[in-house]
């Protein structure tokens, strides 16, 4: 049997190499061929494409993030802390044997999807393995996987805040009630105070959404030095209102920039401080400049423009307006376009005109669709989603019901070109129907918690349900279509099977191979802890 392994430890001078040695000895004794990539300070010789393609199983013995994990996505994986390999290498070899035996036969498509000879997709040009599309996808999924816990924890706390404190908890916009309550000392006897607390904590978690997404995309691309420009670029995307699409831009720009800077030839004296000082400094300055000046300004202008444009539409056909607002609400979930539509609706509330109340209902209904549709999609077609996405899908039910559109961001960020059109279509249907049914709403937030405040709540709910079904059907259709294609053409190996499964083996290998996907920090983290405490 052929095994590939990666060892890595925090300092990179001792455990990394001890673990490598222990694994090599144990593999030799068991009669296997094992090749180790030591991701330590002495530089690492990357595994070759052939070694990766021919391997039957992979072992990660690491207490830090394994670099370029996506290369191992096709292999059954044993993942532990680095010390586990030092003290129990023979056991790990046995586990790898077992994992390889349990993995579905890959005779039809050895090592990588897309057919052809085993070594072809990885190519000779780079040890990084799969094609450009799937590398981009792997970077995205790393960012998304780190964002999901923030979405779930923050979103559920915000929902709890609404449930306990009522929708007014976030009003008025410039000085929300929850801040006033929290700054005035905490009254443990007041339910509203608990609501304010939950909302405040949830909001704090949500403020990390875009920075974490951006930061970990950059990290996946170019390792630790890219974290700073990634996070800072994401934070600026929040400040400038560029939303998660802005965060995607900053993440990729930061990662790409750091990748490039790393190729510079620098004097030896400077080499030592490159990763700690020089790269973060230069890349952060450049990304910050881009985000403020090149991305931020036009976005602010676009938001203003959209708002003015919407204000000029007051005489338009109501159903058409609902459709338009629905499209906008679901385009960027918290980004400038969504914000323009939402602000337009909230601003109308002060006039309390009947039209304004129907607009508010349509906007909220549409904004509930993205998380609900994605939650439904993870249930009806499980195999189209990774484990972490399915977990996020569970939280998304409540997030959608609470009108927290951000619940769909992990899905949209992971696969924007299929997810965003689908949820926009669903949102448009919902917005138009809500207007057609004449549903009204006086509260600017709250989702199902404000149903009692609605006019024609049944119409509102019907609009949400129908739009959700439309969006779900579309997203499933788009994802299924995209998934079948690479198996036939080989153009995009493993690019759309998020969990790292091969296109040809359709879901069957999910459980076995997911551990190797870049989208699995939770499992990696658990393994690390276990290893460290062992």
């Amino acid at each position: 049997m052929k095994i590939v392994a990666v060892t890595a430890c925090p300092t990179g001078i001792a455990h990394t190499y001890m673990a490598a040695e222990a694994l090599e000895i144990a593999a030799e004794e068991a009669g296997h061929t094992l090749t180790v990539e030591t991701q330590g300070s002495a530089g690492s010789t990357p595994l070759t494409a052939e070694q990766l393609a021919e391997a039957d199983a992979a072992i990660f013995a690491a207490d830090v993030e394994v670099r370029d994990k996506e290369r191992f996505a096709h292999l059954p994986l044993v993942q532990v802390g680095v010390k586990k390999a030092i003290s129990g290498a023979p056991g790990l070899i046995a586990q790898a044997e077992q994992a390889a035996a349990e993995a579905p036969a890959r005779t039809a498509a050895p090592a990588t999807a897309g057919g052809g000879s085993p070594a072809t997709p990885a190519g000779a040009k780079a040890p990084a393995g799969p094609g450009a599309a799937s590398r981009v996808r792997a970077w995205l999924m790393t960012g998304v996987s780190f964002v999901i816990p923030f979405v779930a924890a923050g979103g559920l706390l915000i929902a709890l805040g609404f449930a306990l404190g009522g929708y007014q908890i976030n009003l008025p916009e410039d000085e929300p009630l929850y801040e006033t309550i929290l700054s005035g000392g905490f009254d443990a006897g007041s339910l509203t105070a608990w609501g304010a607390l939950a909302f405040g904590i949830g909001s704090a978690a949500f403020n990390f959404l875009v920075p974490v997404l951006s930061g970990y995309i950059a990290y996946a691309m170019a390792d630790r030095p890219a974290l700073v420009p990634g996070f800072v670029g994401g934070a600026i995307a929040v400040t400038t209102g560029a939303g998660f699409l802005g965060g995607l831009v900053s993440g990729f720009v930061a990662g790409g920039l750091v990748m490039w800077i790393k190729t510079w030839r620098v004097p030896r004296a400077l080499a030592g401080i490159m990763p700690v000082v020089v790269i973060p400094l230069i890349s952060t300055a450049v990304v910050g400049l881009l985000m403020y000046v090149v991305v931020g300004r036009p976005i602010a202008a676009a938001t203003d423009g959209l708002t003015n444009w919407l204000n000029g539409l007051s005489g338009t056909n109501a159903v058409l307006l609902g459709l338009l607002l629905g499209l906008m609400m679901c385009f960027d979930m918290g980004g400038p376009v969504n914000k323009a539509a939402y602000t337009f609706a909230v601003a109308g509330l002060t006039t309390a005109s009947p039209t304004a109340l129907t607009i508010m209902a349509a906007v909220m209904a549409a904004g509930m669709v993205p998380p609900l549709a994605m939650a439904l999609a993870t249930v009806v077609r499980r195999s189209l989603f990774t484990d972490v996405e399915r977990e996020n899908g569970r939280a998304a039910w409540l997030l959608g019901a609470s009108f927290i559109s951000e619940g769909a961001i992990p899905f949209a960020a992971a696969d924007p070109f299929r997810v965003i059109p689908a949820i926009m279509a669903g949102g448009a249907v919902t917005g138009a129907l809500s207007m057609a049914f004449g549903a009204t709403l006086r509260a600017p937030h709250g989702g199902v918690f404000v149903v009692p405040l609605m006019g024609n709540p049944l119409g509102f709910l019907a609009a949400v349900v129908i739009g959700t079904v439309v969006a779900t059907a579309l997203v499933v259709a788009l994802k299924s279509f995209a998934r079948r294609r690479p198996a036939g053409s080989g153009a995009e190996p493993a690019g759309d099977t998020a969990g790292g499964t091969d296109g040809g083996t359709d879901g069957g290998t999910d459980g076995e191979t997911d551990g190797g996907a870049p989208a699995e920090p939770s499992r990696a983290g658990a393994a690390t802890t276990a290893g460290a405490s062992a």
Partner: protein, 152 residues
């Protein structure tokens, strides 16, 4: 330039570490590194070792402790080796360590300097390596043996 400097010399070996706890053992070995001119700032170096130790204990099964760090206070990749009859607790599950390897790496060291430490780390996994050090009778013999092993 520094490639001619051996990873370890006889004056960096202490075959009879004074009894004491982990901090005392590390300090005792670190003082030898300072005396040899390989560590410029003792307290800074000890703080860096302790910081690494705090992340995860460096004790390994089989009576080994490998306190280590990358530190700006280190001028040359260096190994200090100590043997303790009483044992020093480095947090390994199976008890205290009788062999202590203090690994000092410069903060911005290039790859070629680190390979010697990588070679050392790999040797630590071979029981013959440990057995030889347990049986060594004088410091020079132990230092020669280690130097030869890691350069092989």
């Amino acid at each position: 330039m520094t490639t001619s400097t051996a990873l370890i010399t006889a004056d960096l070996v202490d075959l009879d570490l004074p009894a004491g706890d982990r901090a005392a053992a590390v300090r005792s070995l670190a003082e030898r590194l300072v005396a040899a001119g390989r560590v410029s700032d003792l307290e800074q170096f000890l703080a860096d070792v302790e910081a690494r130790e705090a992340q995860m204990p460096t004790g390994l099964e089989g009576g080994i402790g490998i306190p280590h760090c990358r530190s700006a206070a280190v001028t040359v990749p260096t190994l200090g080796f100590g043997r303790s009859a009483a044992g020093v607790d480095f947090g390994a599950e199976d008890g205290p360590a009788d062999l202590v390897f203090l690994i000092a790496a410069p903060a911005g060291g290039g790859d070629e300097h680190m390979t010697v430490l990588a070679a050392l780390a790999r040797r630590l996994m071979r029981s013959s390596f440990k057995d030889t050090l347990r049986q060594a009778t004088d410091a020079a013999q132990a230092a020669d043996f280690i130097a030869k092993e890691v350069s092989a």
